[in-house]
Structure formats: structure tokens, C-alpha cells
């Protein structure tokens, strides 16, 4: 810049001055000018000739365009589509990492001109396989959250980075320094930790997250010794028992488990058999819905059940403190034990995070006796139990032993166990520095708060459950000038470099061998650091230690009222509370949105006189909360289930005051569950909003029963399927489906279709958020959802079958079925919805006048109407998350799933361009064009493609005998078809 502007030494006209410094042109003044006005800009102060002004204007116009691009300064490398010849308006995809509860997932981030818009799974990552969870995908909206922390706070009052830099110099790094981090899985953060600890050996490092896997870690420590992670190989197991482990749902932070499980469940031309899943659990989880046999019991009773199973399998001695058996339980146990034994080498027992160490240890013991498919590695995260750690930390904070506390992310004031009194303890700490994304409870309580950079805004790294490291690349410069944890530590404790990029790169340059630069570039490009997966261990289980621990376990009372805590599938531990997508994403089983509820079984509700929406007061763990009740089928009796993460008092416009905070009754002793709770009605009511009522496919209770079981989700046992593979299609008898006009032959070009395997779908909601992110689907708020106006283009239907107490449940994703004979099309008076030659049911938004007739006539009710202008009150920053390829719909217009028509168009254009360049005919490779829901699905349940191509996955799936079209009897000829669900029950338990 200084070269651009010539200094003109001759002054024209009289000299005006603004200060004595300027008048005498003292060096101090020169310095001030230089620091205040970068580079040559200072020259204009008194060198204002016409030529210079014009030059400067030209330069600033030239640079004005650049300021609009919020590209990060450092070089980041694209993943699959090259940066060579960057084309504006065409997205690039970059590999990065997203970390939740100390587990990183590999992600690909779609960015348009330096603006990230969508997160997908990284197909090169060994635990992502290209799939992604709902939470991972929704994190992009959290980045554009207009309520994020934007400035430094001192004692809750806006301050500045400069003041913080000054203020933090007075931090006494010697005695009394404590650093509270989230669960750390990052090698570079670990290196930074070592740097800090090396410099200040008396400092302490504590890791805590409200949702953690401390029980599992302690369990493997009990069985094998510390530092061992167990990785059950679900794809290799034929019989699986889950001990209160919702591994298909919220208990698993990655998509790996679902992928593996679905592989073991898939029936196709290659596989004729499938795994069998047993589960013993309290809440009716997604895993419970998938299970072939489910035994409901309170969370505290699972321990006793595990011991009984251990006894039955002969791995534990008889005579342990176990609960008595009911007939059902005995039968279940015997059949299960027999089945597990019969499948030596392919039987697997897994325990969930709510279960204490001993249950995990018993599971390990059983697994080693069965030769279960489990891989062991060195643990990727630290060893100390997070609950004990935060308890000790809070005690030291209260006693004054901690004078300086640095909180690296998280919101411990809200999430720490109630008995630690973390908020009060924090007030006793002289200097507390909180790094956080939001202006949350901790930000307001700490003496300093500094804004944190979002995962997509800063450099970092993280290891996946198998230890594979992914380097986290920023996609955009921090929107609000936040810093990452490593940057803050570097700044506070004087690391050699304070720039995130340098810290991360330097760390890896020292870790790589050989051509370091190439290794670094490859790691960035692939999103995987080659060879970083943890080495496999072959630890031997210490049976004696586990037996002793089991024998020492006190007997569960089994009689009291139990309360237990679950991470919310939507808000998780509370971090997603201000994320509209997640607030409006229905809970997979209860279908609650915008809030949480105390879930009780129908019998408990009858005994206690509870109805849906009754407010109840729950006293447990020495605290009490008031929360509305929801009766859920399939829950264990005499117990109540609570979802964490709601009832945030301080977070922002979306999440504030939504739901009830259950942390006040969560203590270190009753961290996951506690007995001896009391629950009583307060007499008040509160409206819980759900997207779906408690529906079964059988008719609801009407005075004249019709005994009609709607053939919507079609299901059979594996045995029945083998006897009659075409059972699904034959489930409905209907007259021949003829039209008086000849049907249009869709036999040319591409004919798009979709097949959804209900046997694989777990109902995890990943597709819902993927669709929301891809198609700019607005959120409408609780009041509007209660009026049935939610906008999701793909929804997850959940139906119960069987009895209220012991039901089974099925999930079914439903999007627009793209009927060839679409009933919505002929009724539209303005031809706003018409058929494309490729078999798509197109929506022309510009033509739509909003009669809503099409939605009335849609038998699947997949059409969504803009009852209001849902985009009216969104901020500029929220608009940045929109996909520029998809129009934002105005009010009064109908919309629905398009099979991601923008992707189809893009793909076809690219194919044509490629074909022309190569001088060949256009050829579509299967999988070249995908829908967002298909990309996200961890179970690979959704296939999309050209149904005329016999080699395409979708055509192959449709050829399977389980294939059926929902409501085919209406002769609407849907392009989306379903593969019927199968269960594999144990004949002994039939």
C-alpha cells in the first residue's frame, strides 16, 4: 500500500493542524498516526492532493470487494472439488472436524464464496463414512446465531480485548491456577496443556462435560486397567444385548455405530440373515424401538439384570445381590443367555453411559467369555472421572484454593452437578475467565468473559473414537472476533505463537515425519491424519476384580421412585438451546419440540393420576423442579425420565425459557439416576407441543372399532419373510389399478426415484436437519407447531404397535413421494405443481397462489404451507446460512420435498459439460447426484437415483421383494417406495 501512494513533499495552501503534536510533527505523533491509520492511509492526512485522493479512492474501490469475503487469512485446502479456477457461486467443500463430548467426527463443509452453508460427513473419515448426525449438521446454524457472544465482558459489563489483554497480565499463574476444559480429544490442545503445565506445574487441569462417558471409562479400567477404550464391532455381531445403551440414538456421538449396526441388519441379495437385538432399558429409546426383544426396567435395575446374566452365563459367581425375577424376566434371561452362548464369537453385550462402572465391567467380562467382536485401543481422552473432577474443583474454589480459573468453553454454572454449587463457588474465585460461544449463565457469572470462535471459525484438531485425528480448518473468519481454546491459552500463558493456525500447524509439523508439508496438505485435504488411529490393544480382563466389585455391589432397592437423566436428542446438554433447527426438530420418540417433559409410563400415570400436560413437582437428590408430564408407552413403571439441556435462563432469543432446567436435581451422587424421588401434581398444567400425537397404526379408540391396521409401515419377522418374501406387497388387496386414460410412460432419460429401507432406518433425525439445511427450511416456533404448521420437508413418523405397556415402535421417514399420478397436480387451479419428464413433482413457487388444495389432496400430507412469512424476522447474519441454490419461499406459497432438484440440475449441468468436453454421451454414474437426506443417513437407509438404470442402488433396492409403495391402492404411483421392516425375534420368546 505504501508503494501505491506517492508522498508529495510540496504542501499546498495554508497548513491546518489539529493538535500541537501534529503542528510540530513530533515523533510520538507520527507513531500515533501510524498505529491509528495503517500504512499509506496516514499520508492523506496532510498530503491531500487531487491525484492522491483519486489514487486512494481507486485503491479503496478495488479493495472494497475483498472486504466482503470473510475468508480466513491462512491457506486452507479444498477437499474433493478443486480450487483451481475458482468459480464464484459454485460451492467448494472443505474437510474439518466437529467435536461433541470429546469425540470428533469428520465433516465436509460446503462453502459458497467463503461462506459455509452446510455440513456433511466426510466420506474419507473412518467413523463418519460421509454420514452425519443431526447435531453435527445443526452446528452450522449455531455459528450464525445472532445472539452469540460478540464482545469481551468484564464482570458482565462490555469491555474490550485490549482491556482483557491488560487485565489478564495480572493473572497470577502460580498457585491457585485451575483450567476447566471440556473433554479434551485434541492433540494440539493437549500439547498446549503440557506447555502450560510445564510452565506452571502447580496449575490444575480439569475436564468436565455434563454428558460424558466416565462410567464406560471406569468400567474398562475396572476390567482391563486404565486407559483402554472398547470399540464393539456391531457389524460383526449376530446377537447384541444393550444394557440401557441407546447406541442408535443420543448415547452415541458418532454415526459409526449406526452404520455398523445397519450393516448387520441389512437384508439384500448378499445377506439373508440379520442380527438380533435385545435391550434392557427404562426409557423407550430409538434402540429400544429397533430391538427385537425389549425388557423394560428402571435404570437402577439394569445392574441387577447384568449380574443375573453374568450368573446365567457363568462368568459371575451365584449369590450376588440381585433383584427377584418376574416370569417374563426369567424367560427373557434364559432365552438371552442361551442365544448369546449359541453365538459364541458373534455375540455382543454393550452397556450405556448411564450405567455405573460395574455394569460396563460385567459386560466386558461377558464379552471376553463369548469372544465378542470388540476392538480395544488406548483411550483417546484423559482418564479422570469428570464428575469427581468437577466436584473436587468446586470444593477448592469454595475454599479459596483456586484464585484463578480459566474456563475453556462450556457452561459449568448451568451444567455442573447441583451439589457442587458451582455458581456460588465461582463467585469466590478472584479471577475467572470464561471462554464461551454464548452469553450464557457462566459468561455472566465469571469476572471475565471472552467470545469463543466456533468450530468452523478456528483452527484445531480432534480425535475420533478410534483415535483418528482430523484437523479442524476454519471456513470463515470469526464473525464476532472470537478465539479458540488454544489461542486463549497461548495468549494468557505466553506461548511462542498466539495464532491458532501456527499453533496447530507447528504441532503437526513436529509430529509428522517425512515430507511434512505434503503430509500436512494431505491431512487437510482428506480430513484425516493418516495413520493416527490408535493402535489396537489386546488387554486381558481381570475377572477376579470384576467379580469382587460385583459381589460388593449393594442390592438395588427396586421399590422406590426413580428419576433419571438423558441428554436431549435436540438440545443435547443445553448447548443447542438457541439453535432453532434443533428446538424444532422433534424428539425421535416422544416427538416433543420446543421443550422437555417428565416422561412416565402409562401405568405410573394411572397410579399417580397424571395426565399429559399436568405440572408435577419432582423432589430428588435434595432439590426440586416443576415440570410438565408426558405419558409415554413402553417406559418402566415407577420412574420418571428427564431430558437435560432445557430451561436455559440466559442464551438468546430462541432458547431462553424454553422447557425446564433439570440440572437442579442432578448431583454428583445422582448424576444419571437416583432413587427415592417423589413426584406430585401441582394442579397446574402446561401445554407440551408435539409434532405427532401418540398414534398407532391401528384405529384409535372409537366406540365402533373397525379393527383396521393401516398398512403403512409393513413389518414381518425374518421367518415370515423367508416363507413369503413378497409379504409387504401382498399385505394390501386392491382392485386392479387401471386408468381410463393411458398412463404416461416414464421410460426415457433419467427417472428419479427413491427407496427407503425401513429395516435400516433408526429414526435418528439426521435426514430432517440435512434437509432443513439444504433447502432453507424455516422454523416456525412452538405456537405454530402446536397449530400443525411445522415446515419439515421430510418428517420422521413414529408408530407404536402392541400393548401400551410393552409396545414396539417403528419409525418411517416420509418426504414427498413424487407420485407419477400425483393427486396434488390436477387440483391446482394455476398449474403451480406439475410433473417433469423426469418424474419429479415440481413446484413452481411463482405460480402458486396458495389455495392449499394440493395439500388437502395429498394422501401423505407432505406438503407444507407458508401460513406466515417465516423469514420476516430473521437477522442478516442468519440469512448467511441459506443455500444460495434454493429460493426462500414467501408467505402464502406451498412447498415440499423436491428430491433436491437443485442438486439434480447442478449434477446434470456438470454431466453435460463433462460429456461435451470428453466428446461422449452423457452418462450418469450412480451416486453422482444425491439428496441431502441420503447423504446424511448414517444407516444408508435412503437410496436415490435413476430408476431406469438397473445397476443403480435405488433400482436394486426397488427390485427387492420387500419393496412396497405406501398407499399404492390409491393408484398414485409414488416414486418413493419403502422396503418393509423385519424383526428377528427369538423363537423361544415368541
Amino acid at each position: 500500500m505504501s508503494k501505491l501512494i506517492q508522498i508529495n513533499p510540496t504542501q499546498t495552501g495554508p497548513k491546518y493542524w489539529r493538535s500541537l503534536g501534529e503542528l510540530y510533527n513530533k515523533p510520538e505523533f507520527r507513531d500515533w498516526v501510524d498505529s491509528e491509520f495503517a500504512g499509506g492511509a496516514a499520508e492523506t492526512l496532510d498530503q491531500g492532493s487531487r491525484r492522491n485522493v483519486l489514487k486512494l479512492m481507486a485503491a479503496s474501490f478495488g479493495l472494497a470487494g475483498l472486504t466482503a469475503c470473510r475468508r480466513p487469512e491462512e491457506k486452507i485446502l479444498p477437499h474433493s472439488k478443486g480450487l483451481e479456477g475458482f468459480i464464484p457461486g459454485k460451492p467448494d467443500r472443505y474437510a474439518s472436524a466437529y467435536t461433541l463430548s470429546g469425540v470428533a467426527s469428520g465433516i465436509l463443509v460446503e462453502t459458497y464464496d467463503g461462506r459455509p452453508t452446510k455440513i456433511d460427513g466426510n466420506d474419507k473419515h473412518p467413523t463418519s463414512f460421509g454420514a452425519s448426525t443431526a447435531l453435527t449438521q445443526a452446528s452450522i446454524l449455531s455459528m450464525y446465531d445472532p445472539d452469540r457472544s460478540k464482545e469481551v465482558l468484564k464482570g458482565g459489563v462490555p469491555s474490550s480485548w485490549k482491556a482483557f489483554t491488560e487485565g489478564s497480565k495480572s493473572v497470577n499463574p502460580g498457585e491457585g491456577l485451575a483450567i476447566l476444559s471440556e473433554i479434551n480429544n485434541s492433540p494440539s490442545l493437549t500439547a498446549m496443556k503440557q506447555f502450560v503445565m510445564g510452565k506452571y506445574p502447580n496449575a490444575r487441569w480439569v475436564e468436565y462435560e455434563p454428558v460424558n462417558y466416565g462410567g464406560a471409562a471406569a468400567g474398562s479400567a475396572l476390567a482391563f486397567g486404565a486407559g483402554v477404550d472398547a470399540h464393539p464391532q456391531f457389524d460383526k455381531a449376530k446377537v447384541i444385548l444393550s444394557l440401557d445403551y441407546d447406541f442408535l440414538g443420543i448415547d452415541s456421538p458418532t454415526t459409526l455405530v449406526t452404520r455398523q449396526f445397519a450393516q448387520g441388519r441389512r437384508i439384500d441379495e448378499h445377506a439373508e440373515t440379520m442380527n438380533r437385538l435385545y435391550i434392557a432399558e427404562g426409557q423407550f429409546s430409538l434402540t429400544g424401538a429397533m430391538a427385537d426383544h425389549r425388557l423394560r426396567m428402571k435404570v437402577s435395575e439394569v445392574k441387577s439384570f447384568a449380574m443375573q446374566l453374568g450368573e446365567a452365563l457363568g462368568v459371575l459367581p451365584a449369590g450376588l445381590n440381585v433383584l427377584g425375577n418376574t416370569d417374563k424376566k426369567t424367560k427373557f434371561l434364559n432365552a438371552l443367555a442361551k442365544d448369546l452362548k449359541a453365538n459364541q464369537g458373534a455375540a455382543l453385550v454393550v452397556a450405556g453411559p448411564r450405567q455405573p462402572a460395574v455394569v460396563h465391567a460385567i459386560a466386558h467380562l461377558i464379552n471376553s467369555s463369548l469372544g465378542a467382536p470388540v476392538v480395544f485401543t488406548k483411550s483417546a481422552t484423559g482418564g479422570e472421572d469428570p464428575v469427581a473432577a468437577i466436584k473436587a474443583l468446586a470444593a477448592d474454589m469454595s475454599s479459596g484454593a483456586v484464585s484463578t480459573l480459566v474456563i475453556l468453553g462450556g457452561n459449568p454454572v448451568f451444567t455442573a452437578p447441583a451439589d457442587t454449587q458451582f455458581g456460588a463457588a465461582l463467585a469466590k474465585v478472584k479471577t475467572s475467565i470464561h471462554l464461551g460461544l454464548e452469553l450464557d449463565e457462566t459468561a455472566k457469572a465469571a469476572s471475565w468473559h471472552v467470545p469463543q470462535a466456533h468450530t468452523l471459525e478456528c483452527w484445531g484438531d480432534g480425535s475420533a473414537i478410534d483415535g483418528t485425528v482430523t484437523i479442524q480448518q476454519p471456513m470463515i473468519e470469526p464473525l464476532y472476533g472470537g478465539k479458540s481454546a488454544i489461542e486463549l491459552l497461548a495468549m494468557l500463558f505466553g506461548a511462542p505463537s498466539a495464532k491458532g493456525f501456527e499453533i496447530v500447524k507447528n504441532y503437526w509439523m513436529s509430529a509428522f515425519t517425512g515430507d511434512k508439508e505434503a503430509a500436512w496438505r494431505t491431512a487437510l485435504h482428506d480430513g484425516v491424519v493418516a495413520g493416527s488411529a490408535s493402535a489396537e490393544l489386546k488387554p486381558g480382563a481381570d475377572a477376579g476384580r470384576v467379580k469382587a466389585a460385583a459381589a460388593a455391589e449393594p442390592k438395588a432397592s427396586g421399590s422406590g421412585f426413580e428419576v433419571s437423566f438423558y441428554p436431549s436428542a435436540t438440545c443435547y446438554d443445553g448447548r443447542y438451546a438457541n439453535n432453532g433447527w434443533m428446538q424444532e426438530c422433534p424428539d425421535p420418540m416422544t416427538k416433543i419440540i420446543w421443550g422437555n417433559a417428565a416422561l412416565v409410563s402409562p401405568k405410573t400415570a394411572r397410579d399417580k393420576g397424571f395426565k399429559d400436560d399436568d405440572m408435577v413437582k419432582i423432589n430428588a437428590n435434595g432439590g426440586s423442579i416443576t415440570i410438565p408430564v408426558m405419558v409415554q408407552p413402553g417406559m418402566a413403571d415407577n420412574a420418571v425420565w428427564l431430558n437435560l439441556g432445557y430451561g436455559r435462563r440466559s442464551i438468546g432469543r430462541v432458547g431462553e425459557g424454553v422447557g425446564v432446567n433439570v440440572y437442579p436435581i442432578r448431583t454428583t451422587g445422582g448424576f444419571w439416576f437416583a432413587e427415592g424421588a417423589t413426584v406430585e401434581k401441582t394442579g397446574e398444567t402446561f401445554s407440551i407441543a408435539t409434532t405427532q400425537e401418540y398414534h398407532r397404526m391401528e384405529e384409535p379408540t372409537l366406540p365402533i372399532p373397525t379393527n383396521f391396521k393401516r398398512p403403512i409401515v409393513r413389518e414381518a419377522t425374518l421367518e415370515e419373510y423367508k416363507k413369503n418374501p413378497k409379504f409387504a406387497e401382498e399385505m394390501v388387496e386392491h382392485p386392479p389399478l387401471n386408468s381410463i386414460y393411458g398412463d404416461w410412460k416414464y421410460d426415457k432419460g433419467f427417472q428419479w426415484g427413491m427407496a427407503i429401507d425401513l429395516n435400516a432406518c433408526t429414526g435418528c433425525n439426521a435426514c430432517i436437519i440435512a434437509c432443513q439445511s439444504e433447502n432453507n427450511i424455516p422454523i416456525v416456533g412452538k405456537k405454530e407447531v402446536m397449530r400443525g404448521r411445522e415446515m419439515h420437508w421430510i418428517r420422521m413418523d413414529r408408530y407404536y404397535t402392541g400393548t401400551e405397556d410393552d409396545p414396539q415402535a417403528v419409525t418411517q421417514p416420509v418426504n414427498c413421494q413424487q407420485c407419477e399420478n400425483a393427486p396434488c397436480e390436477n387440483v391446482c387451479p394455476v398449474a403451480a405443481t406439475v410433473h417433469s419428464p423426469e418424474g419429479l413433482n415440481d413446484m413452481a413457487y411463482n405460480r402458486c397462489v396458495g389455495t392449499r388444495y394440493c395439500a388437502n389432496n395429498c394422501p401423505y400430507k407432505v406438503r407444507r404451507f407458508n401460513f406466515f412469512n417465516w423469514h420476516k424476522n430473521i437477522t442478516e447474519v442468519e440469512k448467511m446460512v441459506h443455500n444460495p441454490d434454493v429460493s426462500v419461499r414467501m408467505r402464502g406459497v406451498m412447498e415440499k420435498c423436491t428430491y433436491c432438484t437443485q442438486r439434480i440440475s447442478q449434477g446434470k449441468i456438470q454431466l453435460k459439460a463433462d460429456a461435451r468436453r470428453a466428446g461422449k454421451a452423457v452418462e450418469l454414474k450412480d451416486g453422482y447426484i444425491t439428496t441431502a437426506c441420503q447423504d446424511a443417513c448414517p444407516a444408508e437407509a435412503i437410496a436415490f437415483g435413476n430408476i431406469l438404470d438397473p445397476e443403480s442402488k435405488v433400482a436394486k433396492m426397488k427390485k427387492q421383494e420387500r419393496n412396497y409403495a405406501m398407499l399404492a391402492e390409491l393408484n398414485v404411483k409414488p416414486r418413493t417406495t419403502y422396503l418393509a421392516k423385519l424383526r428377528n425375534p427369538n423363537p423361544e420368546l415368541a
Binding site: E784, V827, P829, V830, N846, N856, P859, N866, G892
Partner: protein
Amino acid sequence: MANDPRQHPLLEVNPPLVQGPQTYHAITQAVSEISEGATPRKWYILTGITGSITLMLFGMLTWLVANGIGVWGNNAPVYWAWDITNFVFWIGIGHAGTLISAILFLFRQKWRTSINRSAEAMTLFAVACAMIFPLFHTGRPWRAIYWLGPLPNTDTGMWQNFRSPLMWDVFAVSTYATVSALFWYVGLVPDLATLRDRATGLREKIFHAASLGWRGSARHWRNYEMAYLILAAISTPLVLSVHTIVSFDFATSIIPGWHTTIFPPYFVAGAIFSGFACVLTLLIIARWSLNLEHLITLKHLENMNKVILVTGWVVGLAYATEFFIAWYSGNPYEKFAFINRAFGPYWWAYWTMITCNVVSPNFFWFKKLRNSIPVMFVLSIVVNIGMWFERFVIIATSLHRDFLPSSWGYFRPTYVDICTFIGTIGLFLTLFLLFCRFLPIIAIGEVKGVLAEQRNPAPGVHTTSQVVDPKFEPVALVSNGGGH
């Protein structure tokens, strides 16, 4: 005294259509005076009330257009609710007007003469109320207003979708509105001339223009009668077609409870049923407040009660047939839809409908009740409540639970729904009050024709309707619209 015509045994059965000592002048006087005298205070009060309600309607529609359909209670899956219920309700109300004017005219039912004018006016006002809804229920009425016009539009360069029943609706209802207006206006011309001849000043000028140069010549009458006959013939199929096409909105869909072939006759019967009930309500008030008991006689009212009784049974039969077919068809979705209609969450709406539409008309089996003004007044209102519920039941209960239980819902109206509906009642009444105040509410010329026949029966014909009091003055054979 056996030959005294006043003692004629058939008088009991068929009383004269014009009662009391009547002359042509007296009839002219009685009808014209209503619009010529000073405006009564109670008219101001009533119009003030209904006018305010109409203003509320405009307010609600403005609010609707400003914010979106979301201000109503419509939701997924009940995308249509009170909006289309009100539309079908008002269209149905209109039917009695055309039926009375056209079909009864063609069948030479002389008893229609004193009620046809107000019935036709009612048709027009009801259609005006009805037409609000197809336009304003759309998400983007500013586009719908020209998109739905039968023009290839310049915006997208294409025609509308003529396969859509909603498109048919646009044509059916606009044709109906046009023909009804023409028919009504042609019938008005002689009477406007009567008013013109009695008026002075501005009134005279307005009526002069409006009466299109009517002089009451025989040639005028001949052309008039022919025009009226032709318009009656054109209107007659419309009585059947409009509600048939409205019913196609539902019948051509695939939703259980909608997808049924019985709808056209069922809707037409229902429309006549509700239309007669509405005419009845209004006439009872009008004849009482405007002292027209001698022109709108008990016989008129009784005849209408008979029509209500018959159409009530037709409607009841249709309800029963629907249930029978639901069972007989073997379609489980259909079967569920109907059981759900009667016993599901909207049971109260269904049984309100049955009580009002099927049970209540049976009181009219009894002559005494058929001739009781309070009874028929209450029942006419009850029938209209029932018919509103019929449309609500068809629309909302079919939509709220269709094929996939996951999408089931429940509709609750908002205050905007309620106020919009009340507002249309206000608009309807305001228009009717304006009509009563400014135009001849009874077809003067036609009543005179009936009176003439009563006095001078055609040779060889002896019916009780021709019985006259011999004291009354003789009259010319051709009644003169110009009056005495």
C-alpha cells in the same frame, strides 16, 4: 250459503295468495311506501349495527391480507376449514333464491310471487358473501385475483389448469352471480318504473335511469315476459350446476369422506334446504316489521316449510347413504372416516348437524307447527346452523384424520375466523337492509297478476285461488306496472 266462495271447503287447504281487501293501488302503495317514506329510526339502528359488523369484516380481511392465512386456525392437515365452510354455506343459502325465482316460475307456482324478489336479492347478497372466501382464502390473493380470471396471463404466459375443480368453481360461481343479477334486475324493471312514476327529484332521476325507459306498454310486457322466461330457463340448470360443481371440489379429491359420488345431489338438496330456511328467517322478520302479512301470507310460509321438510329428508337420506356406502364399499379408510366423523374428536359437530338437519325439520309434519310463526322462525335458524355444521363436518372432519395417522391433527378457529364469519353475516344483513329500504321488496307487477287471476279466473277454471270478494272493484285484465 253453500255457494259463498268464502265458505269454499278448499279454502282451508289452499287459501288465497293475496289476502284481505286488496286493490292494485293498495298493493303499489303498500310496497312503494316502504322505500318512499321517512327512514324509520329502527332502520338506522339496525343498519348501524350490521354496518359495524361489516366494517369488522373488512378489518379482518385487511388483517388477513397483511399477515397471511396463519391468522386463521387453518393448519396441516386441515388446510381448509372455516373459509371453505363459509363459502359453501353462503353459496348454498343463495340457492333458494334461484329455485324460487326460476324453477317455481317455470312450474307456474304462483305462490312464489310475493317472495321471489327478496329471495333473489338474498341470493345475490349470499353469493357476494360467498365470493369473498375463494379469493381471500388463498395465500396470495393479490395474485389469485388475476390468475384465476379466465385469461392467459402475461406473467407466466400460460393458461390456468382447467383440470382443477377450483377452476370450475370460478366459472360456476361467476356465471351464477351474473345470471342471478341479471334475472333479478330484469324482474325489477317494471317495479322500478312504478317507483319512478311516484318519485320526484333525484330519486326520480335515478329510477328513471334504472328502469330503462319502461312504459308498461303491452309490447314491453310481452318482451319482458319472454326475457324473464328465457332467464328463468337459463337459471334453472344453474341451480343444479353450481352446487354440483362446488361439490366437485370434494368429490373429485381422493380424501376419504370427500371422494364420493353422492355429493352433487346431496349438495343441491342441502343448498335448497338451507336456502329456504334462510328465506324463511328473513321473510318472517320482513313481513312483521314492514306490515306485509297480507302479501307474504302464512300459505307462503307453510309451503316453504314443506320444502324444508322434504329437503331435510333428502339430506338425511344422503347422510345415511354415506354410512351405508362406507360399510358396503369395503374400503377401510372410508369406513374409518365415517365412524370417526360420528364418534371421533368432532362428534359434537356431527351430532349438532344431525339434530339440526335431520331431527328438527320433522316438526313440520304437524300442520299446527308448520303454521306457527315462532316455531318456524326458530327452526329456520336451527336448520341454517345445521347446514353450516354440515359443511364444517364434511371439510374439517374428513381432513383432520386421513390416511396416515402421523399427520392427524385438530382444527380450532381463531378469533379472526369467527369474526370473519360474523362479518359476512353483517355484510349480508346490511345489503338486505339497504335493499329493503331502497327497492321494492315485493314484485308489485307479479302480485298484481296473481290478484287479477284471483278476481277474474279464466273461464271454466274454478280453483280456490281465484276466489275473490265481490265487493272489490273490477280491474283491467292487464296490470299496468305504472300503477294507478
